[in-house]
Amino acid sequence: MQNYYAGLSISVILHMGLVLAFANFFQIESLYSLNKVDPMPAYLVFERPQSITKKNNLKKIKKVINREPIITSPPIQAADTKIEIETIEIEKNLLMEQIMKRESLSSVEEISIFSNLIRQQVMINWKQPSSTIKGMTSELTIMLVPTGEIVGIRLTKSSGNEAFDNSALDAVEKVIKFEGLNMSRKLFDAHFRNFTLVFNPKN
């Protein structure tokens, strides 16, 4: 009988942990992010399950997490737009340099860098409407061709505020072509041919 209770309680604890983890109780996202920068610029979810669940790959991810942040971008809050744009440009150039010297980069780092490049090019075109409230989220699915040109934009999750959704669509539409995405065809097909952009204002 005792054994029965022990097994049950372990099972309950484990299931609780699982449920809480899904509810983000442990705030694992911040652990999981590659850039320890506030506000968090980009986070990644990997496409290939097998490449992550393998033990040696897990170690690799942890190593990346423990490393110094790849890009140290100051939080951009300045009211002066010119400075904002300049900062973003500087960041972009830094990223481009990293791509040039990329022989030493792992694929995780590469994805992170290219994601940030995309993020910046959208950011620079995004004008939030003044009805924006913290917590609104719009999700867009973007389709690219290997040259970086956008061939499709689809609103997959609406924020409920039409003006906000439109501002997100406009921001991507204005990019026309993402620059600097010179990556291997394999990486492109795996992650960047279709990806999701989440517009989620933090202030």
Binding site: G17, F26, T53, M123, W126, H191, T196, L197, P201
Partner: protein
């Protein structure tokens, strides 16, 4: 340890749930939205000299959210959607474009404006509208069109056709007091009531049809309600002592106000239909300046019960009182923001009076103005702009500031001293227009 287990589990499961790269964008740039209002083409024999597009442009630019292109900068002047060359407008980095035409309506004074709001980036017409009004009051018509554009692009109601009421005192020793109503840019003011004795603290009813205010015309303070369109006045049952600070409930069924009944001032509720007063707060200290929350459940007020003026909130049904401000020794004249999440008030810091905003839940306080002696703030019905009374060159004037603190302006009001501004709720255009039946605006799709 649990964290680690969960991390592994989460990675394992999330790989099934989401199989796509997600890039999160948490901020954009704070550039204003660039908009071009192409001059409206007039199909009239005698086109007016006023330029609708200029009024609309300056409306939209008022609070820093939009940047309007001047007519000189435009490369072409399309008269309708078909004539738009998108490449030109993209070159000018224009986000939105408004094209339209005006024609004679059925009635002799009536003009009809057909206009389209166009998203240049996506080369798409996002709204077609028709608005009509009197040719003698093109300003009102322009404000209505501005409201439509603002709402469509920004997702918030536009406030350009709302009104401000305030008290204006003549600049002489026995100067008269005027109760005035004006556009929010300070223009088109009209007098609703005048008296040689002081007038104070006007407040709009929630339906926008009446004003409550304090008048000393009978020698002592008394609260009056005045209907705007009929001019009909009604005096509330007055009590001995102070009668001040009237404020309408969101349903217009009650007024909250301050009565002293010869003793110390407390908050009372007045039921409009029954003409009766009911006491709400009872304290030895002074309770004053009540304001109803947008949901009608609470009232925020100023009280010196702790020794210095501070902001308190009372739940009307349970009479439970909570202190809201703890920073500084002077916090007064609180007004809820339209979302009911924050309040604006007068805050003293280092001997100067500023307008500040505080979040009700987190208690976070933010000072908005950097002038001195700022008083009686009032907030726009969309919660984006505050107008307040302040001193400039020894003169009482009205000034405004956007809630993010980025845009400031001063209202060009008539001569004399101005005080006690109160912002109207969102008005239906035909409610207010002098030629009421003429102004009309509707969306075509």
């Amino acid at each position: 340890m649990i964290n680690r287990i969960c991390l592994i589990l989460l990675i394992f499961f999330s790989s099934f749930l989401i199989a796509q790269l997600r890039i999160e964008i948490t901020e954009g740039i704070t550039d204003p939205i660039r908009i071009a209002i192409v001059p409206i083409s007039w199909n009239l024999q005698d086109p007016p000299r006023e330029y609708l597009n200029q009024i609309i442009s300056s409306d939209l630019e008022s609070f820093g959210e939009f940047e309007a292109l001047s007519t000189k900068e435009m490369l072409s002047l399309p008269k309708n959607e078909k004539e738009i060359l998108y490449r030109d407008w993209k070159l000018l980095k224009v986000d939105y474009l408004v094209v339209g035409s005006a024609s004679q309506g059925e009635m002799p004074e009536e003009v009809i404006v057909n206009f389209s709001i166009v998203n240049v980036t996506r080369e798409k017409v996002i709204q077609r509208s028709i608005s009509s009004g009197s040719i003698s009051y093109l300003n009102s018509l322009a404000h209505v069109i501005s409201d439509r554009i603002y709402k469509e692009i920004n997702g918030l109601p536009g406030i350009f056709s709302t009104k401000i009421s305030y008290i204006n005192k003549e600049n002489s020793t026995r100067g008269k007091y005027f109760l005035k109503v004006a556009d929010i840019d300070g223009r088109n003011d009209s007098v609703l009531f005048s008296s040689v004795e002081p007038l104070m603290s006007p407040d709009w009813s929630s339906d926008g049809r009446s004003l409550a205010y304090v008048s000393f015309e009978e020698g002592t303070s008394r609260i009056f309600i005045q209907e705007l369109y009929t001019g009909k006045r009604k005096a509330l049952k007055s009590e001995k002592g102070i009668n001040s600070s009237p404020n309408w409930s969101p349903t217009d069924k009650y007024l909250s106000a301050v009565l002293s009944k010869g003793d110390n001032p407390d908050i009372y509720l007045y039921e409009v239909k029954k003409n009766t007063w009911k006491q709400l707060t009872d304290h030895i200290g002074i309770d004053t300046e009540p304001d109803w929350s947008p949901d009608g459940r609470k009232i925020i007020f100023t009280s010196n019960r702790s020794g210095s003026p501070q902001i308190y909130e009372i739940t009307v049904s349970s009479r439970k009182i909570r202190r809201k401000t703890f920073e500084g020794t002077y916090n007064a004249r609180a007004r809820y923001t339209p979302d009911g999440r924050s309040f604006i008030f007068v805050h003293r810091r280092e001997g100067l009076f500023h307008i500040a905003v505080q979040n009700l839940r987190t208690g976070k306080l933010r000072i908005l103005t950097d002038t001195q002696l700022d008083e009686s703030p009032t907030i726009s019905p969309n919660g984006k702009v505050i107008i307040y009374a302040t001193k400039k060159d020894e003169k009482n004037i009205l000034a405004g500031i956007s809630i993010d603190g980025k845009t400031r302006f001063v209202l060009p009001t008539s001569s004399g001293e101005v005080s006690g501004p109160s912002w109207s709720p969102l008005l239906k255009a035909f409610d207010w227009s002098p030629l009421q039946r003429l102004i009309n605006s509707r969306r075509l799709f």
